[in-house]
């Protein structure tokens, strides 16, 4: 009985995980992770020069070094806004 319950839970986790992955892909234009949209070249003339390095962008990027390794949850929730702002910026560029 216990073994069956564990198997049922794992099957449900697989189904929900697959649905969540599809949701994540549709939300991020085909990317399972929104990481590619988070980094972009710092090309604006008022900021750093375009030296070929990829830099993280976003309105809270100056805070990220302090607690980068500790608060995975917080970064996750904050990230939504960053991703959205990055998308917006991408559309503006087009």
């Amino acid at each position: 009985m216990l073994g069956k319950m564990i198997i049922h839970g794992l099957v449900a986790a697989t189904v929900i995980g697959a649905a969540a992955a599809v949701y994540a892909q549709t939300r991020n234009d085909g990317y399972a992770s929104p990481a590619p949209s988070q980094v972009s070249r710092a090309a604006s003339p008022g900021k750093a020069a375009d030296d070929g390095y990829m830099r993280p962008t976003g309105y809270r990027s100056h805070e990220r070094d302090d607690d980068d390794h500790e608060h995975g949850f917080r970064r996750g929730h904050e990230r939504r806004d960053r991703v959205h702002s990055d998308h917006k910026r991408g559309h503006d560029r087009d």
């Binding site: 189904v15 929104p34 949850f73 929730h77």
Partner: protein, 167 residues
């Protein structure tokens, strides 16, 4: 609705919330935030469905919400008859803690100050789940195993003690 069908629904719900919580916990990292969001809302939906089903279910049915009480626990401790009271206590505690974790996560999207409480409640709920699994495993599997161990011990020790007594 027959009790058998209610048990089937309960099992399906158990798999749903267990699977959704597992996915939400595993995808809590920032790189899988959209998956975490999806699984978290699946947990919220599971809790809401369970509460609604518990309210609508007929009295005495398996879908009724757990109602732990100190009186029942005392009565069980006194005579040891009936269902173990920890089943109801664990079920109620799990519904409360997992529900709180899921709802705080959903609200943390708008209210950022809820992110740390959400993380803390999620960690606590994991330990409640571990306790629930350990308890259920002991009640259904561990008791039988313990019975076998004690039976084996009594079988092996009985000849030794009878020999010592004959001396």
């Amino acid at each position: 609705m027959s009790p058998k069908f209610q048990y089937l629904l309960l099992k399906a719900w158990h798999a749903w919330i267990g699977g959704a919580f597992l996915v939400a916990y595993v995808t809590a990292d920032e790189d899988t935030y959209a998956m975490h969001l999806f699984a978290g809302y699946a947990v919220v939906a599971a809790i809401a469905a369970r509460l609604l089903a518990g309210l609508a279910a007929p009295a005495g049915g398996p879908l009724r919400l757990p109602r732990p009480s100190l009186r029942t626990a005392r009565a069980w401790l006194a005579d040891g008859k009936g269902r173990h009271p920890l089943f109801a206590w664990f079920a109620a505690l799990l519904l409360a803690v997992v529900g709180l974790a899921a709802v705080s996560g959903a609200l943390a999207d708008g209210m950022t100050w809820l992110e740390d409480p959400h993380e803390a409640i999620s960690e606590a709920s994991l330990w409640v789940i571990v306790g629930h699994v350990a308890f259920v495993t002991f009640m259904y599997g561990g008791k039988r195993l313990w019975g076998r161990i004690t039976a084996w011990l009594s079988e092996t020790l009985a000849p030794m003690t009878s020999k010592e007594n004959s001396r």
